[in-house]
C-alpha cells in the first residue's frame, strides 16, 4: 500500500558515532530506509541497538560527543544534515515532532501545560494569544483530555503519567507535522495506560494522516500500530518487512530470537520463554563480520568474516543474513 504514496523521508547509509575517551563507538553503522507519507514504521531493537540515536539524528538533537559521520537524511527532497541551526529549529516541532519515553520528566515542571503546548505553536506560527489558547484547547480535546480549559492551567505535577503523555502528544501535534517520531512513548507507562496511548496514537494517525516512526523494544506494540517494521541490532537494520513478514515469515535469526523470547497468549501453561543467549557486541571494538554472529545458533564461517549483504525477498521484505544469500558456486 505504501508504493503509491509520496516519499517523505529517505535515510541513506546513515552512520553515527560517539567519540568517547575510550574510542569511537559506532552507534549507528549505516542504515537505510524510506518512509512514505502516512506510513507507520516501527523500529525494534534492544537497548543500545542505536534506534534512539538514529531518531535523534533526524531531529538534529544528537548531543556531543555523538556525531553523524556519513550518509544522508532526506526530508521532502532536502538533506536535513545540511540544515543550519535556524533551519533545523524551523523543522523541529513543525515538520517533524518527537515524543519521548518518560512523560514524567519531559515536561518543564515550572510552566503550565497550556503554556508549554502553546509554545510549540508560537515557535513556528505567528498566532494571537487567543488563537493559541483555542488551538491548545482543541489539541487537548483531540488527545482525549477532559475539561481542557481547566487542565491547560495546571502544572505537570498535577497530572498523571498517562495524562502527561497525552499532553506530550498534543504538544507534538499542534503544528500538524508530517512526521512524528515516537521514542518508546509507552515504555514508562502502566500496561492499561499503554493500551490507551496506543489507541490514541492510532486514532490521531488516522485523523491526521501523518507518518510515524515508532521506536520500541516491544514487538507487541509494533504489531498493534505499525505498517512496516525494521529490526535493528548493533547499529544496523537486520530485517525489514511488513508486520506480517516480520511476525509470520521472519528470516533473520535475531528476529526469530526476539519472537521466541516474547510471551504468548496461546502458549502452553508451563512453556518457558526462550532467551537469546550471549550479550550484545562491544560497540567500541565490533568484531568483523555480522554483529549477531557471536550469538547466532546458525553461525557459519563466512558470518565472522564479512558483513552480510541485503537480500530482497520481495514485497519490501529485506534481510541482512548470509543464510539468505544464494550461493553462486
Amino acid at each position: 500500500m505504501s508504493e503509491n504514496r509520496e516519499l517523505l523521508l529517505s535515510v541513506k547509509d546513515l552512520r553515527v558515532s560517539f567519540f568517547t575517551h575510550a574510542g569511537e563507538v559506532k552507534a549507528v553503522g549505516g542504515i537505510s530506509y524510506d518512509l512514505h507519507r502516512g506510513e507507520v514504521m516501527g523500529i525494534v531493537g534492544e537497548s543500545g541497538s542505536g534506534k534512539s540515536v538514529e531518531a535523534y539524528s533526524i531531529m538534529g538533537l544528537l548531543q556531543s560527543p555523538g556525531r553523524v559521520i556519513g550518509g544522508s537524511i532526506t526530508l521532502d527532497g532536502e538533506n536535513v544534515l545540511d540544515y543550519n541551526k535556524e533551519q533545523l529549529q524551523k523543522m523541529r516541532g513543525n515538520r517533524i515532532s518527537m515524543i519521548f519515553q518518560n512523560p514524567m520528566t519531559c515536561l518543564n515542571p515550572v510552566y503550565t501545560v497550556g503554556n508549554q503546548i502553546a509554545e510549540a505553536l508560537t515557535a513556528h506560527k505567528n498566532v494571537s494569544h487567543a488563537d493559541a489558547r483555542a488551538a491548545v484547547i482543541e489539541m487537548l480535546k483531540l488527545v482525549g483530555i477532559p475539561n481542557p480549559e481547566k487542565r491547560m492551567k495546571q502544572y505537570p505535577h498535577e497530572l498523571s503519567g498517562g495524562m502527561r503523555q497525552r499532553v506530550m502528544i498534543a504538544l507534538a501535534l499542534i503544528c500538524e507535522p508530517d512526521l512524528l517520531i515516537a521514542d518508546e512513548p509507552t515504555t514508562a507507562l502502566d500496561v492499561t495506560i499503554q493500551a490507551q496511548i496506543l489507541e490514541l496514537m492510532k486514532d490521531v494517525q488516522k485523523k491526521t494522516q501523518m507518518a510515524i516512526i515508532f521506536i520500541t523494544h516491544n514487538l507487541g506494540v509494533v504489531a498493534d500500530i505499525c505498517d512496516r517494521v525494521s529490526v535493528m541490532y548493533a547499529g544496523k537494520i537486520v530485517e525489514t518487512g511488513s508486520v506480517a513478514d516480520i511476525f509470520y515469515r521472519p528470516r533473520h535469526p535475531y528476529t526469530l530470537g526476539l519472537l521466541a523470547s516474547m510471551p504468548r497468549v496461546d502458549a502452553q501453561e508451563y512453556e518457558r520463554l526462550v532467551p537469546i543467549e550471549g550479550t550484545p557486541v562491544d560497540m567500541l571494538n565490533p568484531p568483523p563480520g555480522c554483529a549477531f554472529a557471536p550469538r547466532c545458533e546458525k553461525c557459519m564461517n563466512i558470518c565472522i568474516k564479512a558483513d552480510p549483504p541485503e537480500t530482497d525477498l520481495g514485497d519490501g521484505h529485506i534481510v541482512n543474513c548470509w543464510m539468505e544469500v544464494p550461493r553462486d558456486e
Binding site: 515536561l107 518543564n108 515550572v110 509554545e119 510549540a120 515557535a123
Partner: protein
Amino acid sequence: MIKYLLKRVLMGILALFAVSAITFFLMNLVPGGPFLSEKAPSAAVLAKLEEKYGLDKPLYVQYGNWLKDLAHGDFGVSFKMQKNRPVTTIIKEMFPVSLKVGIYAMIWAIIFGIVFGCIAAYHRGGIIDSVLRVVTTLGVVLPTFVTASILLVLFAGGVWKILPSIVGAHAKWYAYILPCFTLGLSPMCNIARYTRSSMLDALGQDYIRTAYAKGVSNRKVIFKHALRNALIPVVSYIGPMTAYILTGGFVTETVFNIPGLGRYFVQSISNRDYPIIMGTTVFLAAFVIVMTLAVDILYKFIDPRIDLAKEDE
C-alpha cells in the same frame, strides 16, 4: 497560606525570644562591664551608676525588665557609646546606611552571580568556564578584609587614586563602589557557582530536550526553560546570604569607615554597651528571620510544585 504565614510568624517570635535570652545571659557572663575603662570610677560612683541602669538587680530580673520594655517597643538607652540616647533612635539612624550598602552589594551579587553562572554553564569546559571558576573560587575564599585592602591599594591610593577610601556620613555615590563590591564579592561568587551547577543540572533534564524538539530557540531554552529551574536552589542561598551581608558587613564598614549598624554592633560588644548589644542582635535576627520567610514565599512563585499550605501538616 494565611495559616502558614501565622505559623511562621509565631515561630519567628519564638526564635527571637531564644536569641535574646541566649545573648543576654552570654553577654553578662563575659567579664567586664560598661562603666569600666582605664580610669576606673570609684566604687561609690560605680554602685550609683549600676543602680541607675538597674544593673544591681539579679540577672533574671534585668532580663524580665528588658522584655517588659521591649513589649512597649523600647530597647532602652545606650550606657556608654552614645550615652543615654535610645537604642531605637541609634538603630534608626545607622541601619539605613548598612541597608544601603547591603542592598547594593546584594543586587550586584545576584545579577552578576546569575549571569556569570549562566555563562560558565553555557561554555562548560571551555576557557571562559575555567577563568570564571578560578575567579569565583578566589572570591569565595578571600576574606573581606583582604579584598578590601587589595581594592584600596589598587583604586584608592597606591596604584590609582580614583575612588575615595572612606565613605563617611555624606558620601557621594561613587564612594559606595568599593565597599559594595567588597561586601558583595563573596556572595556573588557563591551565587555564580550555585547557578553554574544548577544550570548544568537543568540543561541535562529531559524537558530541555523537549523544548529543543519543539523548535524553541537556543536562547529561549536557556533563559525560559533552564534558568527558572536553575534558580530554585539559588534562591535558597539568598536567605543565608542576607545574614552574611548584614553581619559580615562590620568588616567592610570598619575598613571603609562607614557609619553603619554592622560596625556599631561589633563595637558595642567590646564596649559592653548592653542595651545596644541586645538591640542590634535582636534587630538583626528579626531582619534575617523576615528575609528567610520572604525567600520561602518567593520559592512558591518560582516553583509551582511547592505548596506552602501543605507544609503545615
